[in-house]
Symmetry: C2
Subunit: 351 residues, 2 copies
């Protein structure tokens, strides 16, 4: 049976400047001067010591809340992302969080599931809670933000906003060149969900790279992701259908590692071997990529770095330092077990 919560021990109010003032026989302002080391105020060392001792004794912590009311910064950031989950967002967020905490900043996490209305509303609600700036991950913005902002994988051009993005042209080239030089020609593609902000840019870059290398992209061999999730289920049905269609392909170039995992699973169930029958190339290099069976070959994005860079830029903006409009980071090809030369390339050719 639920027991009533006992009268909380939180009733003993917390130390305020006023209480300290009363205790010390000083005015609140004097205490504020000492604790903030406000320059230009003459206060003798003896008094300073008394004040500091009392502050320590009562574990005084100035209210950030009251402080912001004075136009000060709250040292708080709002982070906007589509969804909490494994993989991409989680890793970027981790980079953001690490840097912010290290710098003494706190942050709100807000997920919007790509709902336009929420994306518009949240920044304002965050503002009323005192955030100093906004960091948006994989989010398509519709209107200028009411606060300084930095975007990760945002492809929105808005004045005063800094974008941290991957060099998708290079990424696409790395991916296709890798498969090409292994000998793959019939390559299937997994295209990102329309609401994922990298999808368009990457698809364009992929088509360009394919053209350069003389690789054909067949609509018949293209799987379009649509499920809004961060689980491998996103690609599983698409790849199953592709297998059932019996169109030949020797490799799948995936939108991300999670969809690569779903693909491998689907191929496995169909009795196809990776990389023996089909090579799988992932994208992102999430934590578990190296530990899959087979381990994933993938295009690594420096996800944590992207997060921390974005956070760094935002803090710079808050310090009124200049920041570039765009920071491009470099992808990297990581070759593991899931890609290999297609069957027949090494032995006698089949036909």
């Amino acid at each position: 049976m639920p027991k009533a919560t006992p009268p909380s021990p939180h009733s003993g109010r917390h130390a305020s400047l006023k209480m300290l003032a009363e205790y010390l026989g000083l005015s609140p302002s004097t205490i504020s001067f000492v604790l903030n080391e406000t320059p230009g105020r003459s206060i003798p060392e003896s008094t300073r010591a008394r004040v500091k001792a009392a502050a320590a004794k009562f574990n005084y912590q100035p209210s950030m809340i009251a402080r912001t009311l004075q136009g000060k910064r709250m040292r708080t950031i709002g982070v906007l992302l589509p969804v909490l989950g494994e993989g991409y967002h989680s890793q970027v967020l981790s980079g953001v969080g690490d840097l912010l905490m290290r710098e003494g900043y706190f942050y709100f996490t807000v997920h919007h599931r790509h709902k336009k209305e929420l994306i518009s509303d949240y920044p304002n609600l965050l503002r009323t809670r005192g955030v100093d700036g906004i960091l948006a991950i994989d989010t398509h913005l519709y209107a200028p933000l009411p606060l300084p902002a930095v975007l990760v994988a945002g492809h929105t051009e808005l004045p005063g906003i800094t974008n941290v993005v991957l060099d998708h042209r290079k990424a696409a080239h790395l991916a296709l060149h890798h498969l090409y030089q292994l000998g793959h020609r019939k390559i299937a593609f997994i295209q990102g969900q329309p609401f994922s902000s990298d999808s368009d840019v990457r698809w364009t870059a992929t088509r360009e790279a394919a053209q350069e290398l003389g690789i054909e992209i067949h609509e018949d061999l293209t799987v379009h992701l649509s499920i809004d999730s961060t689980s491998p289920e996103i690609s599983y049905p698409g790849i199953r259908k592709l297998i059932q269609s019996r169109r030949p392909f020797t490799a799948v170039c995936c939108f991300n590692d999670v969809s690569a995992m779903g693909s491998i699973r689907a191929l496995h169930e169909a009795g196809l071997h990776v990389p023996g029958d089909v090579s799988i190339l992932g994208f992102d290099d999430i934590q578990s990529a190296a530990y899959q069976v087979p381990s994933l070959s993938t295009i690594r994005q420096p996800l944590r770095k992207m997060g921390s860079t974005a956070a760094e830029m935002l803090l710079k903006k808050l310090a009124d330092e200049s920041t570039p409009d765009m920071i491009q980071v470099e992808p990297e090809l990581v070759v593991r077990e899931s890609t290999a030369a297609p069957r027949g390339t090494r032995k006698a050719t089949k036909k």
Copy 2:
């Protein structure tokens, strides 16, 4: 070259009660009464309409900050967890976040990497930022919190705190019984990191269950996790060493799915087949568990549910409703591909 950020468009100050008051020729208090529908104040419909129109026109949003200064709630929670990452924490957090956002609450995420000092300090820092309550996940608390609190997988007994925990006895029994009835007798165990708050409880429960079933737990077959990470790397070296030791075992009962993935990887590299040579039983049932090759048999914790339940309890506390000291949730055995009868059980016995 970095371009200077242009004078931000954030300079146009935001609507305050005072500005609205001036615009309407009313006093701030009157506007507050209308917007909050404060009972017991007589204000004619005509004025109300004027006020509401003006508020909409200027997109007025009351400052939560100023409001809390009046002793109101900020509708904000602080979430304490060891680390941002894949798996357990991510899923619980997702449940927490979903419920909180749905209820119009915002939350800070704070990771402490099990550092005692941070665990003690953060709650206070959160308080200065106006949070109404604290939700701690997988965190060992050392002192009473300055705010109402709910713990997930916290095994700290503190007055006024609600704990949301798994029924570990049942979980251990489900796990061992499953392996036992498949025919496993030589079972290796992966024990959680000492700083992980479920480790002790689960280990105790595991030993009890083993005794009941007559299963022996050999120290030689026990891997002790120690790496502070959420990647499969945590179990990989331990399992490698176990394999090299050449002590026979037919199954591994893992601390979590992530360590199960690392185990499978290590076995795979040693040329051992799962479940043919060794069965692997995970714990948690994280998103990707079903999509591994082989897919993971595991003990499911309702992680998202645990998160949302905890959040719900915290909001209840804030509403001064009574809450139980403990809520136990039920584990569930999920049988997939990674467990099977040990070799020799079905065919002629080996020896």
